[in-house]
Amino acid sequence: GQQVMQIPQYQHVQEGEDFTTYCNSSTTLSNIQWYKQRPGGHPVFLIQLVKSGEVKKQKRLTFQFGEAKKNSSLHITATQTTDVGTYFCAAGTGGGNKLTFGTGTQLKVEL
């Protein structure tokens, strides 16, 4: 069945360093969403990408959807301690378009 994989699983960075997480699907996606889950919290929607090759920015966060619509990335420039958490990509899969989440990337930022 549909699988959405993310790498890396964990990432430790020093504050001010950049961070990137990658999301890969075995099939073509109609769209992809990104969520952030703070420690102890619930996932919160960040953005949705729909078009092939689409790039969207939110302050220090840059989201990209691959040309083949099978992969996506989230890049954070100059990380801050407030960026700590787990970042998930998600996509609608299957006939019912159920929302399936990637495996997540846990980001830790050290001072």
Partner: protein
């Protein structure tokens, strides 16, 4: 505005006891509803999803079940809990296909 309520926030249950977690949505009709489970430090495992009353799809064979007795109510149940059922349970809804998902606060279940 659209809101989602999930309770309880934490729960400690003995092995073999029953379980009932409830989730309700306000401010929208006919939402897509989801139950996910998250082990500590791990990803979101889709357990059940529903596109309408009485329409439940199960993703993972297990001793859990879900029901949708009303349009905006989603219940996760078990007749006999196992130790492996411990985890963080999250309810979520979408207002339609390919829309953002809104999550409840989650229930942290510990089976002892």
């Amino acid at each position: 505005s659209q809101t989602i309520h999930q309770w309880p926030a934490t729960l400690v249950q003995p092995v073999g006891s029953p379980l009932s977690l409830e989730c309700t949505v306000e401010g929208t009709s006919n939402p897509n509803l989801y139950w996910y489970r998250q082990a500590a430090g791990r990803g979101l495992q889709l357990l059940f999803y529903s596109v309408g009353i009485g329409q439940i799809s199960s993703e993972v064979p297990q001793n859990l079940s879900a029901s949708r007795p009303q349009d905006r109510q989603f219940i996760l149940s078990s007749k006999k809990l196992l130790l492996s059922d411990s985890g963080f349970y999250l309810c979520a809804f979408q207002t339609g296909r390919n829309t953002e998902a809104f999550f409840g606060q989650g229930t942290r279940l510990t089976v002892v």
